[in-house]
């Protein structure tokens, strides 16, 4: 406890580099584009249903990955355990979704 105390008092002396908004705005634009594409794929309505489903899931996954990596800082250092936590949740969910899809649509 007292060791923590000492360590955090030292920090303010460092001149910290602050991350600008640029990366996050780019992430926003990517998310927007993926969203628009998703809506577009559905609205055109000319392609097969299964193809649309796959595209929607893929685009959603990419958008989520971008948002979590940049906005939630998962790409930054010090995020090993958050990654393990979320990934284990994703694995459990993946198993459930496979079962639900197999059950409902097979």
């Amino acid at each position: 406890m007292t060791a923590e105390h000492a360590a955090s008092v030292e920090q303010p002396k460092k001149r910290a580099r602050h991350e600008g908004p640029k990366k996050h705005i780019i992430a926003y634009i990517f998310s927007l584009v993926l969203t628009i594409l998703a809506f577009a794929v559905v609205v055109t309505g000319d392609v097969s249903v299964n193809f649309v489903y796959v595209m929607l899931v893929l685009m959603a996954a990419v958008q989520v990955f971008i948002q979590m990596a940049f906005w939630m800082h998962m790409k930054d250092r010090g995020h090993l355990y958050p990654i393990i936590g979320i990934l284990s949740g994703v694995i459990v969910v993946f198993t459930m979704i496979i079962m639900a899809v197999y059950w409902a649509w097979w």
Binding site: M1, A3, G85
Partner: protein, 616 residues
């Protein structure tokens, strides 16, 4: 510093227990409450066995029998063994990693009180409208309002939902504690096995309980708000409940057994005076069991019509779990082999655990063969299997842990003679009760039915089973007497009462002082305390200078929040939504207060810390 100057809140007596955020006291609360519910669940078991001792018995009505089996299962799993597990985790894990408390002391208290009031809500059902009677698995359509229109199943839904919040909070707490608060030098691969087991168990809790939450919400919506999740007439699906329940339910049984595996590793190693054999493979096996536990849930549903492909996949996945489990069993045996063995009561329970759990495991592999399960399903063979693993396995492990750590927690060792009596009555009674149930199942005796026909060949074995249950009861009474007799003794335990302690908790006083460690210790290897002992040191080397120790403040809010949820539960059960809303409002108000009132705790100054940190 300015903030040490606010009035230090220190309560005494019952207020101390209601407001404590100290992991050691919360651990004791969990042990006491879990023990209390264990007695209730045990009573329910005795009543079940009395009803079944002869054919066509009318000791209890069929409806009461259904309530008894439902409450016995639900109470034992959620209100008895899980709290005892949490109790041991609370008392011991921070000490084993060299921490002064868990990461979130307030949430720790909240976890206890929500569990407790959820359990009270569930048991109040006996007196106010009827206990749940659709089995601990509460399958629809039996559990829907069509076939269960009393409040029983609503008590189940709300009681478990509230209790489940406590479990989830506890899981997160221990994960963060182990990740962030290990003493300097304690890398992951130097942690004791009980801590590893607690860590993986906490991850399983985090991932499994939300599925139960959704299932209970869905059942509640169907029952109370006219939802259609499980109502086929509106497009709902009965099988959905089974999937959701078992996606939770199967990991749940690994949540139950992994801590027991951790306890066995500690006890076997300590009382063989030998380092645990194959530590790395033990860790790996624990992780693998945890992971595979999420992949096998449909083995509870082989006969529900999933089809041969699904059945085959789940069958194979289930059998795979036997491999890491087998690794563990062999490692325990190799630890014992060549060790300097001392048959204390903890070791007796541990040695009783190993073959008993293996027996449960092999019947599990039998059940895992889907075609075989078509014969075993819903018979006493299944009942025998899971009692061998949960009672002969888990409960034996818990008895081992409780006897092992009692002096550390309470400052007094349990009486060895009574401990051995407990063991012998319990283990003999256990095998009498459940060994015959394998054969009853193979002969075709159905489970969850209040009686059986004469002339089926069931009579003698049921009688033996009932007598065995009575013997188990005697064993439990021996334990209760042991606890009472011991509590009257003075607190004379030394820091290392078994004299062969290997892990860090044995380096400090019994019971541990309020702040656990006067100075956080420096960890120089696995079995950290044993390592110091081997080098001739009486104590751990400190990793920091003596300084003021920060302690979190006690709070009554967790208690009140849980009462709010309890009241809200009643409101939902009896469709009194104003009451339901009022209860939730109380809980939310407490959350608001908690966020807004900044209480930074208090300090214990170095002058108050006795030399060697042995002030209780």
């Amino acid at each position: 510093m300015a903030h040490g100057s606010h009035a230090v809140k220190r309560y005494t007596g019952i207020m101390d227990w209601l407001t404590t955020v100290d992991h050691k006291k919360i651990g004791i609360l969990y042990l006491m409450a879990g023990g209390f519910f264990f007695l209730i669940g045990g009573l329910e078991a005795i009543l079940i066995r009395i009803q079944l001792w002869k054919p066509f018995n009318n000791f209890v009505s069929p409806d009461t029998f259904n309530e008894l089996i439902t409450m016995h299962g639900t109470t034992m799993i959620f209100l008895a063994v899980m709290p005892v597990i949490f109790g041991l985790m609370n008392c011991i894990v921070p000490l084993q990693i060299g921490a002064r408390d868990v990461a979130f002391p307030f949430l720790n208290a909240l976890g206890f009180w929500t569990f407790f009031f959820g359990g009270v809500l569930l048991n109040v059902s006996w007196f106010l409208g009827g206990a749940p009677d659709a089995g601990w698995t509460s399958y629809v359509p039996l559990a829907s309002t069509t076939f269960s229109d009393g409040p029983g199943v609503d008590y189940y839904v709300l009681g478990l939902q509230i209790s489940g919040i406590g479990s989830l909070l506890g899981g997160i707490n221990f994960l963060v504690t182990v990740i962030n608060m290990r003493a300097p030098g304690m890398s992951f691969m130097r942690m004791p096995m009980f801590t590893w087991a607690s860590f993986i168990t906490s991850l399983l809790i985090l991932l499994a309980f939300p599925a139960l939450t959704v299932g209970l919400v869905a059942l509640m919506f169907d029952r109370i708000f006219d939802g259609n999740f499980f109502d086929p007439s509106a497009g709902g699906n009965i099988m959905l409940w089974q999937h959701i329940f078992w996606i939770f339910g199967h990991p749940e049984v690994y949540i139950l057994i992994l801590p027991a595996f951790g306890i066995i590793s500690e006890v076997v190693s300590t009382f063989s005076r030998k380092r645990l054999f194959g530590y790395s493979s033990m860790v790996f096996a624990t992780v693998l069991i945890g992971f595979l536990g999420f992949m096998v849930w449909a083995h509870h549903m082989f006969t529900s019509g999933l089809g041969p492909v699904a059945n085959a996949l789940f069958s194979i996945a289930t059998m795979l779990i036997a491999v890491p489990t087998g690794i563990k069993v062999f490692n325990w045996l190799f630890t014992l082999w060549g060790g300097s063995i001392k048959f204390t009561s903890p070791l007796l329970f541990a040695v009783g655990f190993i073959p008993t759990f293996v027996m449960g495991g092999v019947t599990g592999v039998m059940l895992a063969a889907a075609p075989g399960d078509y014969q075993y399903h819903d018979s006493y063979f299944v009942v025998a299997h899971f009692h061998y693993t949960i009672v002969g396995g888990l409960v034996s492990g818990l008895f081992a842990g409780v006897h092992y750590w009692w002096p550390k927690i309470f400052g007094r060792p349990l009486n060895e003679t009574l401990g051995k009596l407990t063991f012998w009555f319990f283990i003999i009674g256990f095998h009498m009760t459940f060994l015959v149930q394998h054969f009853l199942g193979l002969l075709g005796m159905q489970r969850r039915i209040f009686t059986y026909l004469d002339g089926m060949g069931f009579n003698e074995m049921n009688l033996i089973s009932t007598i065995g249950a009575m013997l188990m009861g005697v064993g439990v009474i021996c334990f209760v007497i042991n606890v009472i007799v011991t509590s009257a003794k003075p607190k004379t335990a030394t820091n290392d009462p078994w004299e062969d302690g290997r892990t860090l908790e044995w380096a400090i006083a019994s019971p541990a002082p309020e702040y656990n460690f006067a100075q956080l210790p420096l960890i120089r290897g696995y079995d950290a305390y044993w390592k110091e002992k081997r080098e001739g040191n009486k104590e751990m080397q400190p990793a920091e200078p003596l300084g003021p120790i920060h302690m979190p403040s006690p709070s009554i809010l967790p208690f009140i929040m849980s009462i709010g949820l309890f009241i809200s539960g009643f409101g939902f059960i009896f469709h009194q939504y104003v009451v339901a809303g009022a209860g939730l409002a109380v809980t939310l108000a407490c959350m608001f207060l908690r966020s807004v009132i900044e209480d930074h705790g208090y300090h214990i100054e170095p002058e108050e810390i006795q030399p060697r940190g042995f002030k209780a």
